[in-house]
Amino acid sequence: MLDIEDIQLSFGGVKALSGVTVNAETGMITSVIGPNGAGKTSLFNVISGFYRPQKGRVTLAGEDISSLKPHQRAYRGMARTFQNIALFHGMTVADNIKLGAHTHLKSGILSAGLRLPSTRNEEANLDKEADEIIDLLELDKVRNDQVEDLAYGLQKRVEMARALIMRPKILLLDEPVAGMNREEKSEMSRFVLRVKNDLNTTVLLIEHDMSMVMGISDAIVVLSFGQPIASGTPDEVRNNPDVIKAYLGSVDETTQNAA
């Protein structure tokens, strides 16, 4: 579905990514892991069009999207969440989710301002769609709450809901369980699987939590200092000596890995 080929990205003299190639297979969950500062978020920013790589190509469903702007990529079916929650404060959960539906609504300023029947229909349908996503991610209890009042884990889930209402072909998730407790983590894993199985959405996932990554991924790519050092199934990656070496710094994760 999403093919990233031989990406090279540097800021000034600093190489953030070099020779990175990742293929997210249709209908699969592909994970990108690596120590802090490995370049994972930078890779996402390349994929969504915020950073222009010096070299390399991004292909979505067969189309080369390398030169498209972020909003054009959204129209092609790309959705993402951010490492730091990027919800819109001062708005309810439902309104935040509705914001995600921008790409498949049509109302312009005139039809909206005059509230023409087309806009009215559109908004009514949108309400229904939002309800479906809210059900899927079990957010109905907080539907009308202000997002900033929600617990951290729930906010992450709202962000995912907002991405899902875009009906994306590919969903990019940047550390969806960072800072969550064990219970919230397993819940989120369940939702990511639900996205894959029920909605048939391809997922590209960045995550430090090894139990989650190993538990739900179909394929894993490991980055270290901007370079790909391993890739394969969870089992292959788990036993790769290079990977273990790269992670030596962060002991807790390697122990989790072994567990």
Binding site: S48, F50, K69, P70, H71, A74, Y75, A79, R80, F82, A86, F88, H89, G90, M91, D95, K98, L99, G100, A101, H102, T103, L105, K106, S107, G108, I109, A112, G113, L114, R115, T119, E122, E123, R162, M166
Partner: protein, 346 residues
């Protein structure tokens, strides 16, 4: 089991009654506005007309600044563009209001975009600077393009007229303006509650996220800035028919400060806020004038010479005070009061 059924049958009904409740209040409110001239002296109706114009202009600035985060220091000059459009078209071509008013909106939009476009492409302070430049350059044109604007003397404007019926009294122009106020308020509210308005808010809050959601931010900033300028143009056009003359003095930097304080006081990013803010800043100078008359009679102090700078001081104080202490403005205070009230009732 039965309680679950009750829930589902009651909830939507409750919501519906809430909506009709609001609609009902709105109708009552509009009827009350229509009846105003029968209840109040002409002097107050005059102010109601002025207030209406300020509400429209404030809606415009609120759309740009409150909803989209595009600060404009030149709103007053764009209002001036609308006013001059009417005066010039009427003086030279004798066009009727139903042509001049829409054109005033359109020309203000075009000029607004001409000033705003280069800096709308980028983030940050550049738009603020460009609008400040617009304020000074447009004012300069009002003063110095003498052959067209008649310089400091200005242009006089005949009342708006349709089929020989002239909007030439306080009451008539009041109804004329009221129609525009209602239409512009509903239009603004509809836009805000749509895909377009949500895109505006997304840009204001987090423009990067907005892009990820598919919002083409330059286009939507342009829409917002264009719509805001259009409102300014309409307000200016009405002002021309209201004052029946147009001169540069009306559109100094002070007018931009005036609208800025209206939107801030009312509450940025709230339709109700723009209205409350406009009411506040329109009545404030009147209140000051009355107070100074009182001071003159009661205490023998003549404050009339300092009224203009006093206004300037107070508008500045309001801007600073509200931004520091209550950045969500009167609209937020109002909502809090209402929530308290309804909780007390429940």
């Amino acid at each position: 089991m039965s309680s679950a059924i009750d829930q589902s049958s009651i909830m939507p009904a409750k919501k519906a009654s809430y909506v009709t409740d609001n609609r009902l209040w709105l109708v009552i409110f509009i009827v009350a506005l229509a009846g105003l001239p029968f209840a109040l002296p002409g002097y107050w109706i005059f102010f109601a007309g002025l207030l209406g114009i300020n509400i429209i202009a404030s809606h415009g600035l609120n759309i740009m600044m409150g909803y989209t985060g595009l600060l404009s220091l030149g709103h007053g000059a764009f209002v001036g563009v609308g006013a001059y459009t009417v005066a010039i078209l009427q003086t030279n071509f004798d066009l009727p209001f139903w042509i001049t008013i829409p054109l005033a909106g359109i020309i203000a939009t075009v000029i607004g975009i001409a000033f705003g476009l280069p800096s709308l492409r980028i983030r940050g302070l550049y738009l603020v600077i460009a609008t400040l430049a617009a304020q000074f350059i447009l004012y300069f044109i009002f003063v110095h393009w003498e052959s067209v604007t008649n310089s400091d003397v200005g242009l006089s404007v005949a009342p708006a007229e349709i089929f020989g019926y002239q909007f030439n009294t306080e009451t008539r122009i009041y109804y004329f303006i009221l129609a525009f106020v209602i239409a512009s308020t509903i239009f603004a509210r509809n836009v805000i509650r749509s895909r377009v308005g949500r895109a505006f808010i997304a840009i204001r809050e987090r423009d990067l996220t907005a892009q990820v959601l598919g919002v083409e931010i330059v286009w939507y900033k342009l829409l917002s800035f264009g719509l805001g300028s259009f409102y300014a143009g309409i307000a200016g056009a009405l002002l021309a028919y209201f004052n029946r003359f147009v001169n540069p003095e009306q559109f100094e930097l002070m007018l931009s400060v005036f609208f800025l304080s209206a939107v801030i006081v009312g509450g940025m990013g709230s339709i109700l806020g723009a209205i409350l803010g406009a009411v506040f800043v329109t009545l404030l100078p009147e209140f000051l004038r009355e107070a100074s008359l009182l001071a003159a009679h009661g205490l023998g102090i003549d404050l009339s010479s300092i009224l203009t700078p006093l206004r300037e001081t107070i508008f500045g104080l309001i801007i600073v005070g509200f931004l520091i202490l209550e950045p969500r403005g009167l609209a937020h205070l109002w909502q809090r009061a209402r929530r308290k009230f309804s909780r007390a009732r429940a």
